[in-house]
C-alpha cells in the first residue's frame, strides 16, 4: 500500500508541475448596485475562461455558483478573477451570496458558431 501511495504521490507531483496554464479567454462582469452586468454572459463550450468581476459597490460580495462549483469573495471597489470551465453547453446560474435576490446571473455556454 505504501508503494501505491508513493506512486500516486509522484503522479500527483508530476501533474502539479504540468499544470502551468496558457492564455485563456477573458470576460468581464460588473457588479453595481448589487446587480450583475451583463446578467447573461455567453462563453464557448469546452474551454477554460477567465472571468474578471469588478465590484463597484461599497460592500463586499461573494460570487457563488453551485452549477459552476465556484465561490469567490470580491472586496468593495476591487476586482477578482474567477476561472470557470471547460464546460458542456448549457445554462449555469450564479449569484451574489450577500444579495442573492438582486445579484443574479447566468453563464450561457454555447458551442462555437452556435447562434440564437
Amino acid at each position: 500500500m505504501a508503494r501505491v501511495l508513493t506512486n500516486c504521490g509522484y503522479l500527483a507531483l508530476g501533474l502539479f508541475c504540468l499544470s502551468a496554464m496558457g492564455a485563456v479567454p477573458e470576460y468581464e462582469l460588473v457588479l453595481k448596485d448589487h446587480l450583475f452586468y451583463p446578467s447573461k454572459l455567453e462563453i464557448p463550450a469546452n474551454m477554460k475562461v477567465r472571468l474578471i468581476v469588478h465590484n463597484q459597490d461599497d460592500t463586499p460580495e461573494e460570487f457563488d455558483s453551485f452549477d459552476l462549483n465556484r465561490e469567490k469573495v470580491i472586496f468593495p471597489q476591487r476586482k477578482a478573477t474567477v476561472y470557470i470551465g471547460p464546460l458542456q453547453p448549457g445554462v449555469y446560474h450564479f449569484f451574489g451570496e450577500y444579495n442573492p435576490n438582486s445579484a443574479r446571473g447566468q453563464v450561457i455556454v454555447k458551442e462555437p458558431g452556435d447562434a440564437d
Binding site: Y10, L13, K72, V73
Partner: protein, 230 residues
C-alpha cells in the same frame, strides 16, 4: 515554490506506519476570506472488541484570502467507557492555487495536537488536491504525521484519504470515500450537503460509514460533521 516541492516530496515518499483514528474528514483546498466557523465532528469506531467514540469541537477564522486557522478541543471515550477531554489541536489550511486556474486545485493542511495532561505531541502536514470532472469532484489528501514526547513512542505515520463526490444538489452530494493508514484500509459511502442562509451564513454537513476491507474482523466507523460558517 521550491520549498513547497521539497515538502511535498518528503510527504509523499515517507513510509507508512501508524495508530489512532484514520477515518476523519476529507479536506478540500478552497479557503474563503472573511469567514468564521464553528465545527463539530463525531466519529464512532466499532470493532469486535469495543466501541471508540471521538468528538471534536472547533472554532476557525480566515486570516487572509488563502489562509485559515482553526482551534479544536477533542474528546474521546477511554478504555473504562468514560468520555473526557483528550487533546487540543491547532489547524491551518492554506489554499495554494486559485480555484479552477490549473489542472487541479491544490492546498495544504498543517496541524499541531497535544494530548491532555500528557507529554504527547503530534504535528501533521498534508497535501490536498481536488480535480473536477463535470459535476463530479475527486479530492485527495496525503498526510505525514510525526508523533513525539515522553508519553508516546516517536514515529512517523502516513495517511491517505480519497473522496469521489457527485455534486447532485447543494443539500445532497453523495460520495465514495477511501481511508488508508496504520494498517487500515477502509471504504464506504458518504453524503455531504450545504444549506445557505443570509450572507455568508451556511450550514455544512457530512455523514459517512466506512468499513475496513483489509482485515477479517469487524471494523466500521460512522462519521458525522456539522460546520456552521458565518
Amino acid at each position: 515554490m521550491r520549498r513547497e516541492v521539497i515538502v511535498m516530496l518528503v510527504l509523499l515518499t515517507t513510509k507508512a506506519a501508524a495508530d489512532g483514528f484514520v477515518v476523519d474528514k476529507v479536506y478540500h483546498p478552497i479557503v474563503l476570506p472573511n469567514e468564521q466557523r464553528v465545527e463539530w465532528r463525531f466519529m464512532s469506531r466499532q470493532n469486535d472488541e469495543r466501541n471508540v467514540l471521538a468528538q471534536r469541537i472547533g472554532y476557525g477564522h480566515s486570516l487572509s484570502e488563502t489562509l485559515t486557522l482553526e482551534a479544536y478541543v477533542v474528546g474521546e471515550r477511554d478504555q473504562e467507557d468514560n468520555f473526557g477531554l483528550q487533546a487540543y489541536e491547532l489547524e491551518s489550511r492554506w489554499m495554494i492555487t486559485e480555484q479552477g486556474r490549473y489542472w487541479a486545485d491544490w492546498g495544504m493542511v498543517f496541524e499541531l495536537e497535544k494530548q491532555h495532561k500528557q507529554d504527547s505531541w503530534e504535528v501533521t502536514s498534508g497535501l490536498v488536491m481536488e480535480k473536477e470532472f463535470g459535476r463530479s469532484s475527486l479530492t485527495l489528501n496525503w498526510f505525514m504525521i510525526y508523533e513525539w514526547g515522553k508519553d508516546i513512542h516517536d514515529e512517523v505515520e502516513n495517511e491517505f484519504r480519497l473522496q469521489y463526490r457527485y455534486r447532485w444538489m447543494p443539500q445532497v452530494q453523495p460520495s465514495i470515500e477511501i481511508y488508508t493508514g496504520e494498517d487500515f484500509v477502509g471504504i464506504g459511502p458518504a453524503l455531504m450537503g450545504i444549506q445557505r442562509f443570509d450572507g455568508q451564513k451556511q450550514l455544512k454537513w457530512e455523514l459517512g460509514f466506512i468499513s475496513e476491507v483489509g482485515g477479517v474482523t469487524k471494523d466500521h466507523t460512522l462519521r458525522f460533521a456539522l460546520e456552521y460558517e458565518f
